[in-house]
């Protein structure tokens, strides 16, 4: 053992706030998902998925592009690496490319990260080959553009304008550039479908696009398009987890509704004054529910 020239002052920093609750919750969610997958595999066809309008529009959007002989634009977001979000985006794009390959519709798949670009290129080539039309694959249709945010946005906007795209699909991580792309595509009259994991950008896409996949609909897309029992089962597991969290929210709602309202002590008033917060002499502040917090504090910490 190498000699350590430091002294540990506190261990388990990440567990100090919530104790074992964090681990238990994560294990429970993972358990739900695996159990959902297990059940769906055992009873294939038992799980159905509701209609997602944005994904139903893929064929229509590609069809319109085919009729007008204009390209379909795809942007797999600005992920900083080839992460799960980018893989999910590329899975959806594979389905779009398949439809485009069948109808010989030109595509433009513009990438922000070189790793995503490398995989996107292989996927596009693979899809054209499996559809039996490898000669229709244009190697320049899948491009790396730039790994600078606004240079990328400028290039996408320029492509939209110059190529007059008929349909645009934005899937993945998007930030401030989302509106630049979506508004430019709107100006050339393209059908737009968007899905982003950055919830701060969702309102912008809702304002500018025709269809938006909200929240986890983005992750449900591969299950929706493929209808594989494994993928559907994991959705069911995630839904159980959501129900559990809703249960937690209801319990928290009740607990907080019964929290005691009491006048501030002199000590508390002084604390707020020291912090620069104005305090009225007879002001009452809600204080935390002692029963709930005593119970929480008894959970063993890391």
């Amino acid at each position: 053992m190498a000699e350590r020239n430091y002294e540990i002052t506190s261990l388990g920093l990440q567990y100090q706030k919530w104790g074992w609750l964090l681990v238990i919750t994560t294990v429970a969610v993972v358990g739900y998902i695996l159990w959902g997958i297990f059940l769906a595999r055992r009873k294939a066809g038992s799980v159905t998925i509701r209609r997602i309008a944005g994904l139903d529009q893929i064929d229509e959007a590609v069809g319109r592009a085919t009729e007008t002989a204009r390209p379909v634009l795809m942007v797999p977001g600005l992920s900083g690496a080839l992460d799960g979000i980018a893989v999910q985006a590329l899975t959806i794009f594979a389905s779009i490319i398949r439809t485009a390959a069948r109808f010989a519709t030109p595509i433009r798949l513009l990438n922000y990260h070189p790793a995503v670009f490398a995989v996107a290129q292989e996927i596009a080539k693979d899809v054209y080959q499996t559809e039996g039309v490898p000669d229709r694959y244009d190697v320049d249709s899948v491009r790396f553009v730039s790994d600078r945010q606004f240079a990328f946005a400028a290039a996408v906007a320029g492509t939209i304008r110059r190529d007059q795209v008929a349909a645009a699909f934005y899937m993945g991580d998007f930030f401030a550039e989302s509106l630049i792309m979506a508004e430019n595509a709107n100006m050339v009259g393209a059908i737009q479908v968007a899905a982003t994991t950055q919830f701060t950008q969702t309102p912008f896409f809702i304002a500018a696009c025709d269809y938006v996949l909200l929240g986890d609909e983005f992750y449900a897309a591969s299950a929706y398009l493929g209808r594989e029992p494994v993928l559907l089962g994991s959705l069911v597991g995630a839904d159980w987890a959501k129900l559990t969290f809703m249960g937690f929210a209801v319990v928290a709602l009740i607990v907080h509704s019964f929290q005691s309202i009491r006048p501030l002590t002199d000590e508390q008033k002084q604390y707020f004054k020291d912090m620069g917060t104005p305090v009225l002499e007879d002001q009452e502040y809600p204080t935390r529910n002692e029963f709930f917090f005593n119970w929480i504090s008894k959970i063993p910490r890391g």
Partner: protein
């Protein structure tokens, strides 16, 4: 192991430039051999092998999240948290440093592929005099200038830091001009366009076409007015406390943001988190289907 890691961590100065080059060359050679061996593996073994690799790669990050982190006190005064391993002679955060560096190296190699893509598209456009070819010329010239000046600045900075003679100011000024005075400004110009796009998108979204659009417009209007001092002055006559204070525009705005907007965004975020977790599990366990993972 600590010694091994320390030996592999080479400071980038001119003094050990050849050492860096030799390490990089050796690493490239080893990677090429590994890739060659991987390509020779029968395809029915390739998928399980890649699956194991993905599982281990995911496990590294899960352990980083789960292993208890420690606050430490050092004689030197540094207090960065570490992840000690009781059964191993080094900390887990050192492993993470190496993993992050390896992924950065991989990204660097893949960036070469990206640059090749850019060159292929734009050189073809230029040589065949396709439509808008002058834009391609501008792009290629700008890219070449940025690479040359950026590398020059890196060398000049290193030489200056090592106390080596030479006029380093010229190249540093050139870098400042192309990076700070041109690229950053162009970035800012693109960013400023968003203000106009917000206006045009908001105009379309808030047109009163349906009940939902009307409600959205009314709510958006309250939130907008709640941030404007002149609008706040209109309801300033209402009392600060009591029931009537709820109708002060700034209180209505705060209520909407805290009790309607924030919970909705948190619900979307929760769904996204669960969806990502489910997908990560499927990928790690080799259950994910689709051309992207096959």
């Amino acid at each position: 192991m600590e010694i091994l890691i320390a030996r592999w961590t080479v400071a980038r100065t001119d003094a050990n430039l050849w050492q860096v080059v030799s390490y990089a060359g050796a690493a490239t050679l080893v990677s090429a051999v590994l890739m060659f061996l991987l390509s020779r593996i029968p395809s029915n073994f390739r998928r399980p092998l890649v699956g194991i690799f993905i599982f281990v790669a995911g496990l590294i990050w899960i352990l980083d999240w789960a292993l208890p982190k420690a606050a430490v006190r050092r004689a030197s005064g540094e207090s960065n948290p570490i992840t000690p391993l009781p059964f191993w002679p080094f900390e887990y955060n050192l492993v993470m440093d190496k993993v992050i560096q390896a992924s950065q190296v991989l990204s660097g190699v893949l960036l070469g592929l990206g640059v090749l893509s850019i060159l292929r598209v734009h050189v073809k456009k230029l040589t065949k005099r396709q439509q808008d070819w002058p834009f391609s010329l501008v792009l290629l010239v700008s890219m070449a200038a940025m690479i040359v000046i950026g590398l020059g600045e890196w060398v000049a900075s290193n030489r200056e830091a090592a106390g080596m003679p030479g006029n380093h100011e010229l190249v540093k000024t050139a870098f400042s001009v192309v990076f700070n005075d041109m690229l950053q400004i162009l970035d800012a110009a693109m960013f400023s366009l968003i203000a106009f796009f917000i206006l045009s998108a908001a105009y379309r979204a808030f047109r009163i076409r349906s009940v939902e659009a009307t409600i959205m417009m009314a709510v958006a209007l309250i939130v907008l007015l709640g941030f404007i001092p002149l609008a706040m002055a209109v309801t300033a006559g209402l009392p600060v406390e009591g029931f009537a204070s709820n109708f002060r525009i700034e209180n209505m705005k705060t209520w909407i943001l805290l009790n309607m907007s924030t919970p909705a965004l948190r619900a979307i975020d929760l769904g996204l988190g669960l969806g990502l977790l489910a997908m990560a599990l499927r990928i790690m366990l080799g259950l994910e289907k689709g051309v992207a993972v096959d």
